[in-house]
Each structure stands twice: as C-alpha cells, then as structure tokens.
C-alpha cells in the first residue's frame, strides 16, 4: 500500500523517542502494569478485534461460491498495513481451543472501505479450512500482515494468468487491480475448473470480462475438454511466449505449467499454497532432521528418539527427564511428521510443539529449538 513520503519521514524522526518510551514501558520493574497482553485481553472483552500489536479482523460477510468454496469478508483493525493484489496472509483461527494458522490469498483488490476478502476451499481433512467455513458474521479472527511478491511486474508487457480451482483467488485480485491501474495492458486469464463440481468464481470472472473488454477470459472446463495440457495453453494463447506469466493452482497443475515453460522459467511466476511437506515414510530406516538456526542437520533412525539422535550427532539440545514428563526438550516442529513413542500417536505434518525425547521421525523434519517459534 502506498504511504506518503512525509508520513514515513515523520515516523523516522519520532522513532528514537518512541523507542525510548517503549523500552521504558517494557521495563521489567513496571510489571504487572506493563503486561500488554493482559490489558489487550481486557480490552477485547469490550471490542473483540482490538489489539495494539496484532492484526485482528471481524467477519462482516460470508459468501458461498460452491459447496466447498466460501469467501469471508473481513474488516481488519488498524494494525493492518494494507496489501498488493496477489499477496496472501495467514488466517489464525481457534480450532477446538488451539490456535491454528494457514495462508490464504486475498481474492479482492484493495478497496476504499478497507474490507478484505479471503476465498477458502474446504480441504478434505483440513481442520482449519473446516473451521473457516463454519465462521459466522460477527466473529473475530487473527490475521498476519500481507506477504508474498506474487504480482504482475510493472511495465507494459502483455500478461497471461493461468489458474486452476481455488488458485483463481489471487488472480481475481490481480485482474481487478490491473484493470483499474493499467486498463490498456493486454491481459489474458485461463482458468480451469470442472463444471460437474462447479468452476470456482466463474460468474465473477464473467462479470469482470463483461465490464472490462480488455480482459480476455478463457474458462477451461475439464469436464468436457479434459485436463488442461501444455499444448492447449499454446492453442488458447498463440503469443504466450511474448507474455509474462503468473500461475496458481494445485501441485499437479503447477507441474503441467512448468512443463510448458521449461527453459523459459524466468518468464513465469508461481504461487503455491502452503509448503510441500516431506512425504511420510514409516518404512525408511532413517530420516533427515534439520534443526535450529544456524541450521544443523542430523539423521535419526526409525524408532529412535529425536533427543538421542541429536545427542549422538554431537548436538546439545536443551533437555531434562528424557521420559516425556518435563517438557524441557520441547521444540517447534515446522514441518514433517513424528510418532509419539509413549502413545504411538502420529502427528500431522504441519507446525506444532513436540517433545524431542518421546518423538521419533516418520518423515524428514524441520525443527526450531525455540518452543515459541520465531514468529512471536
């Protein structure tokens, strides 16, 4: 979001004084008066989206596109610093008492009234997307600041946007942004869907195309024309080689697009949802574990506790009882799957806290020894 230069310079002048006041305020001798989190919780009893530090937002509308595709209209609090079309952010929800975050693209270009729209596809086993679909108007959610650099590069180069399924979400924002700012720029969007289960946001895209004749919209229905393939891209858009391309969709679709752009990947920007977790392989004799910052790598045998493996590799992770009681060895797992040696419970592959002494890997792991994680 644009910020006027004068505003940013006055901030810079104010910074030393503000920094000093902030340091004074945070001084431990002022506890508990300076427990900002506690004051915030109290203020949130009156106004649920209040925060001095975090972006929180109120759900002001819910728009159901397809049975498994819903948009949330959100009004963020004043901590939100704006976004560019194509960016995404992390939505934090309360899922059965636990805070869970997932990234979603903003599916609406910045609006004058500041409302945000997230379009969310319900995943078959996704607890967060299910909780997002259950949200009602008036509820409060947590947000991160906007992230990502998925956007059309400035200039006049003609554009080709290729999306499939819910991958259309950043494309809508990008198209809306461009038709206002650069209506003369040549813009083609190929969007794939399956009409038997419904094509995501088809009506909305048709409306956009009607409103802006400069937008060439190609809706590819895989129910009648099969899955989009590289040859079809070239057939739909003969001058594809001259165009700057942006693609977003499921991983098989992204692989297909990459195949089209083999040898000219510099021309293509890709947005993938989330990270690709290492595959779970319970039969592998050992797994690779990335640990800490600066990163150290060690291997742990199947059935061996991560703590023993780390110590055997010469690392010195913090630890205590070694029996799963004291939690001294608790780490934040960024990705990968583990089995609990006491209960045999198998974890998900996302971010969560694990105890090194009672966890054995089922896949390659990425661990952060700070239990709080780095995003505190």
């Amino acid at each position: 979001m644009d910020r006027s230069p004068s505003a940013s310079s006055s901030r810079a002048d104010g910074a030393p004084l503000r920094g000093r006041i902030a340091r004074l305020w945070r001084h431990p001798l002022l506890a508990p008066l300076n427990d900002g989190a506690a004051w915030e919780r109290a203020a949130q009893l009156l106004r649920a989206d209040f925060s001095l530090t975090e972006v929180r937002a109120t759900v002001v509308g819910v728009e159901q596109h397809l049975p498994d595709l819903t948009s949330l209209w959100l009004r963020p609090n004043r901590r939100f610093r704006g976004f560019l079309p194509g960016q995404h952010l992390a939505l934090t929800l309360n899922v059965d008492g636990a805070r869970q975050s997932r990234c979603f693209s903003l599916s609406q270009a910045p609006r004058a009234d500041g409302l945000l729209r997230l379009t969310i596809k319900r995943q078959p086993q996704g607890v967060v997307s299910a909780a997002a679909h259950a949200l009602k108007v008036g509820q409060t959610v947590g947000l991160s600041q906007a992230q990502g650099r998925f956007a059309a590069r400035p200039g006049d180069q003609p554009l080709l946007l290729i999306s499939a399924g819910s991958g259309v979400t950043p494309m809508i924002a990008i198209v809306q942004g461009l038709v206002v700012k650069q209506p003369q720029r040549s813009l083609t969007l190929i969007h794939c869907g399956n009409s038997s289960s419904g094509i995501a946001c088809a009506d909305e895209l048709n409306d956009l195309a009607r409103q802006w004749p400069g937008l060439e919209l190609i809706l590819h229905d895989s129910a009648c024309s099969g899955r989009l393939n590289p040859a079809q891209i070239a057939a739909y858009v003969p001058d594809w080689q001259q165009r700057e391309a942006l693609a977003c969709g499921p991983s098989a679709f992204m692989a297909m697009v990459e195949q089209r752009y083999a040898g000219r990947l510099a021309q293509l920007q890709q947005e993938r949802f989330g990270f690709v977790a290492a595959p779970v392989d319970p039969d592998a004799p050992q797994h690779k574990v990335r640990f800490g910052d600066p990163e150290q790598v060690f291997t742990a045998a199947a059935g061996q506790s991560l703590l023993n493996a780390a110590i055997a590799a010469g690392l010195q992770p913090r630890h205590g009882c070694g029996k799963g009681i004291c939690r001294s060895c608790q780490c934040r797992k960024r990705s990968g799957s583990v089995r609990n040696l006491l209960t045999n419970a198998i974890s998900g592959n996302g971010e969560e806290l694990i105890q090194l002494c009672i966890s054995t890997p089922l896949s390659a792991l990425d661990l952060d020894p700070q239990p709080q994680g780095t995003n505190r």
């Binding site: 008066l33 636990a98 805070r99 205590g320 029996k323 608790q330 969560e352 239990p371 709080q372």
Partner: protein, 360 residues
C-alpha cells in the same frame, strides 16, 4: 500405615498399559473446554488482583483493607496454583498461545520460572519421593521418614516447619540454587553465583512490585498497601505450603531408596507416582484453589494433562488401583494435613526403620 504394594513384572506392564490407555482416551477429549477454562481462570485471577490492589490502594477503612487482602491473596493463589504451576507443566501448550506456553511463562512469586521448571518439572516429577534424589522430599530441612539421617537439628523440626510455611515462596525460590551443596563446598563459587543470579533478579522484581511500586502509587496510603501485600503473600504462602505438603508427606505416602528404583520400568514408575502421592477431598472451589493438586495422584501420573481433567479420571484411576491392590491415598484436608504434622513430629525424634517384614 499402609504397606507398600509391590507387583510382579507382568502386572506392572498391565498397569502401565491400563494407565496409558486411560491417558489416550482422555487426551483425545482435550480441547475447547480446557482452553476456555484456563482463559477464564486467568482472567478471574487478574480481575481479583486488580480489585484487590485497587481496594488496598484507594479504599478507606478496615473493611476495604480486609477485602483487598483476601482478593489479592486469592488472585496470587489461583495464579500460582491453577494457572502458573499447570501452565508451566505444559498442560496448555497445545493451544499454541504464546502467553500460555510452558517454557516462557513467568509467575507471580519470587521463584524464577526456569528454576522451577528444573527443580519441579524435571527433578521432583521424575524422582518423586526417592530419598536423596527428590529434593522436594523434606526440602533439605525436614526429616519425614526413617531412611533420612537424623541429627539433633531435627528436634526443633516443628519450628523449622513453621518458618518454612510462613516463608514458603522463599523456600521454593532458593530450592534450585542448592545452597547446601555450596556450603558443603561441593559447588564452586562461580557456579553458585550463576545459580544465584536468576533468583536475585526475580526476587528483586517481586519485592519492588509488592513493596515499592504499588505502595508508592498509593501515595499517603502506602502503609496499608505495603501491609496488605505482605499479608496477602503470607496467606498465599501458608495455603500453598499446606496443599503441597499434603501431596507427598501424608501418613500413607511411601518413600523409595535409590536402590529400589534402579532400572525402573514404566510400570514401576507409575506405581511409585501413585504410592508417593496423596489426594485431598473437597468441593469444586477447593480443587480450583489447590490448582487441582488435590488430585496429586492423577497429576503425578499425567503431569501435562489439563488439570480439571484430573477430577474426571479420578474414579477410573481409583478403579485401576483397586484392581491391582494399590492403596489409593485420599482423605479430607484436615485428616491428611494432621497426618503430615504427626509424621513430622514423629520423625523429629531418631526413629528407626521398622521391621523389615513390614516393609516388604
């Protein structure tokens, strides 16, 4: 006194299996309800602290003073027992809430959080009631079993206990420094200084808060704030001390020697936790004010299970104990506390181990 139950290896494995199953079943239910509980309790404790300090600072007359003291004492008790102690065990780590994370939580008491995490979570909960290894057993100053060595110092045990109870937060705070080892020259000066540092920092902050900052903010009312804070801390000390002493030092709570626990199996570990702990019976409020340490047995079996769940699994734990012939040590607060005081008085004299036949 009840005899210590010993089980054959097959029964021990079966016991471990039964308890593990119980844990899995209750763990799968943990969720929204537990999150709401801890948030509400924390909010209530903070509200009680604000109203207590408010009454002390800006109230008039003795009634508001007494109410202020009671309110602040309750706030400190709930914050220490139901919030601090339980959060630092990791009972709510699954919530992913950085303000309720076991490794970073800091509580309203002079004991440094990291010291507590080590002396309590690591040492006491693993080595429960092993004489010589569990430093919480007698806190290095009280003799509570025959197998502890007697010295003339123990004759005045009731007096030492009274002093410890009054200053309980200080006893807990210096616990992990291991001053005894320094005095016996088994710890170097540098290590001692390192261990003192977090204690001094935390103690300084607590003293400043209760005896400088808040009295000063009350201007000319400072004496009633200072005295009120002192009394609130005293009430908290006496209460937490009584509850904690009822956890492991009651008449029927057994002790273990280092030899007994060599190569201990998981079943033996569970058995020791049950036989080394004792419960208190009472209503919902009593359990809350004790931080659910009134379910000490369940807490020692599963220290990181959200505490209100202890009351739910207690009947099943009791049933499992009955099945294996293990005594489930429970009773009213006064019965159990009286047992602790008697035990303390008895072992202030040079008691000898009883007949070997009785112990086996």
């Amino acid at each position: 006194m009840n005899c210590k139950t010993r089980l054959d290896p097959a029964s021990l494995d079966a016991l471990a299996h039964d308890l593990d199953q119980l844990r899995l079943a209750i763990n799968s239910q943990v969720g929204e309800r537990d999150a709401r509980h801890i948030c509400r309790v924390r909010g209530t404790a903070q509200a009680a602290a604000i109203s207590g300090r408010g009454l002390l600072m800006f109230g008039f007359g003795p009634v508001s003073w007494v109410l202020g003291v009671l309110s602040l004492a309750t706030a400190k008790i709930v914050e220490n027992m139901e919030v601090g102690h339980n959060v630092m065990h990791g009972q709510y780590d699954w919530m992913n809430d950085p303000t309720l994370n076991s490794q970073s939580y800091e509580w309203d008491i002079v004991c440094d959080g990291d010291h507590w995490r080590h002396s309590h979570n690591v040492q006491h909960h693993d080595h429960t009631n092993i004489v010589g290894k569990d430093h919480d057993y007698g806190y290095g100053m009280l003799r509570l079993t025959e197998s502890q060595r007697w010295s003339p110092w123990n004759l005045l045990q009731p007096l030492w206990y009274l002093l410890l109870a009054i200053n309980f937060q200080w006893g807990v705070a210096i616990h992990d420094i291991k001053i005894g080892r320094y005095l016996k020259r088994r710890m170097g000066k540098e290590e001692f200084r390192q261990r003192m540092r977090p204690f001094l920092r935390k103690a300084g902050r607590q003293l400043f808060k209760d005896y400088v900052l808040f009295p000063a903010l009350a201007f000319w009312q400072w004496p009633r704030v200072l005295l009120g804070n002192l009394l609130a801390n005293l009430i908290r000390n006496l209460w937490t001390n009584a509850i904690i002493f009822c956890g492991h030092f009651t008449t029927d709570a057994h002790t273990y020697s280092r030899e007994e626990v060599r190569n201990e199996s998981r079943g033996q570990w569970y058995l020791r936790q049950i036989q080394g702990s004792s419960n208190l019976e009472g209503g919902r409020w009593f359990h809350l004010l004790s931080g659910h340490l009134s379910h000490q047995i369940e807490h020692h079996l599963f220290p990181d299970l959200p505490a209100p769940r202890y009351a739910e699994i207690a009947p099943q734990v009791r049933e499992i104990c009955a099945r294996y012939g293990i005594h489930y040590n429970t009773g009213s607060f006064w019965k159990q506390y009286w047992g602790v005081l008697l035990r303390m008085a008895r072992h202030s004299l040079p008691t000898r181990p009883r007949l070997a036949a009785q112990g086996s």
